[in-house]
Symmetry: C2
Subunit: 271 residues, 2 copies
């Protein structure tokens, strides 16, 4: 199998390493030539090159760069399949189908880290994780099967859902936590970060770990998934206001009830 990976960051780089470990040939490129060179050096790629001869092209760039990236794709064969790894899907799939018709399959590996760039690539990043694919009535079954097989070959399990549902679910389980983590780290800055150094326990480090992620990817995700994210933010603001109110009026029973509901919800999602 020959795969072309466009974008050699954490996700594209990890996919390249993982596919090569399974015997696939991986060519790739990055608009940042230094990142492509580094990816080659790290063994993420067999070669820097275009999509000529590739059975699958994977667009692994921030979601709002996907349309330009798709347009710039050269060498793509008539039978080749195109997929992406973006954290939002509705607009990406519309754009992908406009460019590639039923040979485009929207994808999103639910895996990542706060690190970025080819040096963060990890061949085991997708092992045991889920990859959400968002086919439409227009998607060619063979294209879907080929993308699913690629992800299964690197240890991932496939979940299919429609793109709109994907975006609502991910707004809740991923985009909202990122927004909250950034706001929390920002609030600590406003409250006097310097004087807190060395005084935080592990709770703060964990709660804000994802706020260490650099901006470009998340600016795109927040803008691209604005509607579902605003809904999720408002649900969160409601919970926070309820907890604040209970604290302000000294209502221990209400605080205990909110904590119990929160623990139960967490256990239902992650337990």
């Amino acid at each position: 199998m020959k795969v072309c990976v466009v974008g050699c960051g954490l996700i594209g780089g990890s996919l390249g390493l993982a596919l090569r470990a399974q015997g696939a040939t991986v060519v790739g490129q990055d608009r940042d030539r230094a990142a492509a060179d580094r990816a080659l050096e790290l063994g993420v790629l067999d070669a820097i090159g275009d999509a000529a001869g590739a059975e699958i092209a994977v667009l692994a760039v921030p979601v709002r760069s996907i349309p330009a990236c798709a347009q710039a794709l050269t060498g793509l064969g008539a039978a080749a399949v195109v997929t992406d790894v973006g954290s939002t899907k509705a607009a990406v799939v519309r754009g992908g189908e406009a460019a590639f018709g039923g040979r485009f399959v929207g994808g999103h590996p639910v895996a990542g880290s706060e690190r970025a760039g080819p040096d963060a690539a990890d061949a085991r990043l997708f092992a045991g994780r889920r990859v959400i694919l968002t086919p439409t009535p227009r998607t060619e079954p063979a294209a879907l099967a080929r993308v699913a097989a690629m992800w299964r070959s690197v240890g991932a399990a496939i979940v299919e859902m429609d793109a709109e549902r994907h975006d609502r679910v991910l707004a809740a389980v991923s985009h909202l936590p990122h927004a909250v983590a950034y706001a929390l780290a920002g609030a600590l800055g406003a409250l006097g970060a310097e004087s807190f150094r060395g005084l935080a326990g592990g709770g703060l480090a964990d709660t804000t770990r994802i706020a260490a992620t650099p901006a470009p990817m998340w600016v795109d995700v927040f803008l691209e998934n604005r509607g579902p994210l605003l809904e999720a933010l408002d649900a969160f603001a409601g919970e926070l206001a309820a907890l604040r109110g209970a604290i302000e009026r000294g209502d221990g029973a209400a605080i205990a009830a909110l904590i119990a509901e929160a623990r139960a919800a967490r256990a239902r999602i992650l337990g």
Copy 2:
């Protein structure tokens, strides 16, 4: 050295294990007799008993139980020192000094986990961590020195600050993140937890890990540190509103700036 630990949960239990590993004799008690029995079985305690003969009594119970716990302390010698491990300090220190005068030293080990009870006890919990002590002009220097020596013997470093400053700092670096984590888990419940099962990445697990902590301790902390916590919650709400506004108006530059500030603040505190 003989130490009496009142409360055999995560913190009291871990301190018992750690002190015994250093050769101290540890007697203890818990209003939940089963917890005390379990602590004895796990080697947290040499014996179940009161403070007779102890040089230090450590009140390791939820902060709003400390006054009753202090009143119920039996067997305490006239030269014995009393300290606590509560997450808030101003009210605790006032109560402790009312009961024990200059022999009371407020303390707070900045260490913990989302687990609770004697089975969560870990002899290494305090190694390399900080313990904040909050002496007042009334505190006897020998009492302060004795409590500091106890914590150093289990690997902790001592930081001294006044109780009011402690409560403002901890409202920001600990109580706020806990409140946010509970609100986030609660919001996910409201948004449809069941349908999210298996679809969350590591970010959600980390961001809400501290929301797995059972209620009693945190109800007490939120109520006891209401003033500083409400200030911290309002700073957070301001950051969140700024981020929400930027998302709503599609202002990528503003989102990028907020993310950059958040990352910088996090690095200043934790880096």
